[in-house]
Amino acid sequence: MDRDTLSLFAGIGALLALASLIGFVLQWRCRGADSPVIDNLNARINAWWVMVAVLGGAFWLGHGAVILLFCAVSFFALREFITLAPTRGSDYPALAAAFYLVLPLQYLLIAYDWYGLFSIFIPVYVFLLLPILASLGGDTAHFLERTAKVQWGMMIAVFCISHVPALLTLDIPGFEGRHLLLIAWLVLVVQLSDVLQYVCGKLLGKRRIAPRLSPSKTVEGFAGGIALATLTGAAFYWITPFDVWQAALIALVVTLLGFFGGLVMSAIKRDRGVKDWGHMIEGHGGMLDRLDSVCFAAPVFFHLLRWGWA
């Protein structure tokens, strides 16, 4: 890890330490009284420590570890998605191929830096292969729905998420050896936007922005979170190949995409009658609950960089 990465993680550590301190004081102030909001806040902060430590560990181990980490993240996300998407017995071959063939192959393509196939493998070849496999079982009930759901899961949980480690494959002149910082900047800006939307919403939130999709999101949380995360993205322009205005603009784009990603994924959850995708991250819900915004932001961020800077 270079010095910028280290100081970035040190800064995040300091921020989390501050958050933990605030969480501790809040808990101490209401001792005796049960407060689900504060308990959930502290669970979230503790989970953040773990997530930052895991990402930091992967950064320290190098590119291969980061690709493996996001491969695992995709696996957990796909598992949550397919668990909630009803499929039938005939979908078994398609699902087995999705988990055991497509998922590892997509990440191998990143490891071998084969952009030409990486970018069309799932949208073209898998898109055609999975319904063929599903049709072999001969079960026509809800066929289009079933294949659409599996393909959608592949796109969100594997294709979109894989664009985060794919940032490592970009050749950006004058930016050699600093690729991990692209991942750090993207994840920092998008996740900070989620956190700041939550914080601004809890402190100032009055008007709900999408009551039917996501009752806890407010106009105030949206505006405050996006604005502050955009400013943060601009302030960290020095770890990116952008100048300060470019950084602000791209931060605005990815945080907006992240926000709408959250709404879309929330619509799917509501339709399935659940609040969270899963339970693996204490206080946050499932892997997809934490990554819904990154799913939507990562591919666009990747292509902006590829067109404009690589």
């Binding site: 598992r79 397919i82 668990t83 499929t87 087995a96 988990f99 055991y100 899963g278 693996m280």
Partner: protein, 230 residues
């Protein structure tokens, strides 16, 4: 079990010792990779909705849609309870070769029942009654066979006769969700889908409750648990 000869009500529990010794700690260790794999693959979550994981003598009765049902249910119990919870399994399947015999006796400490009723003079419930008399808990699938459709098949009567013979034992309904998708019939490779195991409120047999009324009530309890879990 096809509703064979039943011990007359009021008859004392037999005191015949269990035919197999308890697995040694070393053999128990062999269960770790199996339970670990089951939990890792399914992200198994135990939801204690109607009761707590207490060391009480119980019959856990569950829906049966996959060969792995009892492994997942067994893995979902805390280790202390797991050591005393014995899966009830078909002798015809588990006696077939040395590996299966080893697993069911030495690792899972299962209770084998003769589903094909080879010996007409022996009460097929006897091995379960012996296990209960020895203080163990049972894991039982009252549908008797794997159900490949939604919902539940009608219950076999064994659960009723056990409840009748051992009124002190709690009957806990357990709904295993999604495992039939993760391990479909006839497929070798399991799919890594999330499964949950929900434990409902214990039932007891009413004083003058008949067989069919009780079995229907037990089945409804399990179906209600399924609706809650969904």
């Amino acid at each position: 079990m096809n509703n064979p000869q039943i011990p007359p009500p009021g008859e004392d529990l037999p005191t015949v010792p269990a035919p197999r010794p308890r697995p040694s700690p070393a053999q128990r260790l062999l269960a770790w990779p199996i339970t670990g794999f089951a939990r890792l693959l399914t992200g198994a979550r135990s939801l204690w909705r109607g009761c707590a994981p207490e060391p009480k003598q119980r019959i856990y009765f569950a829906n049966h849609s996959s060969h792995a049902d009892f492994v997942l249910l067994w893995s979902s119990l805390p280790p202390a309870l797991r050591a005393r919870a014995r899966p009830v399994a078909g002798a015809d399947y588990w006696q077939r070769d040395a590996l299966r015999r080893f697993l069911i006796h030495r690792v899972f400490h299962g209770v084998l029942v003769d589903r094909e009723l080879h010996d007409r003079h022996r009460n097929p419930l006897q091995p379960m009654l012996d296990a209960l008399a020895g203080g163990d808990s049972l894991i039982l699938f009252p549908e008797g066979t794997r159900n490949l459709e939604d919902g539940l098949l009608p219950f076999k009567s064994g659960l009723y006769h056990l409840a009748r013979a051992c009124p002190q034992v709690e009957l806990v309904p357990v709904w295993i969700a999604n495992l039939n998708r993760a391990m479909p019939k006839g497929r070798i490779l399991p799919l890594p889908l999330l499964c949950t195991v929900s434990f409902g409120a214990p039932l007891t047999l009413g004083l003058d409750e008949g067989k069919s009324a009780f079995l229907a009530r037990a089945r409804d309890a399990l179906l209600n648990l399924a609706a809650e879990a969904d």
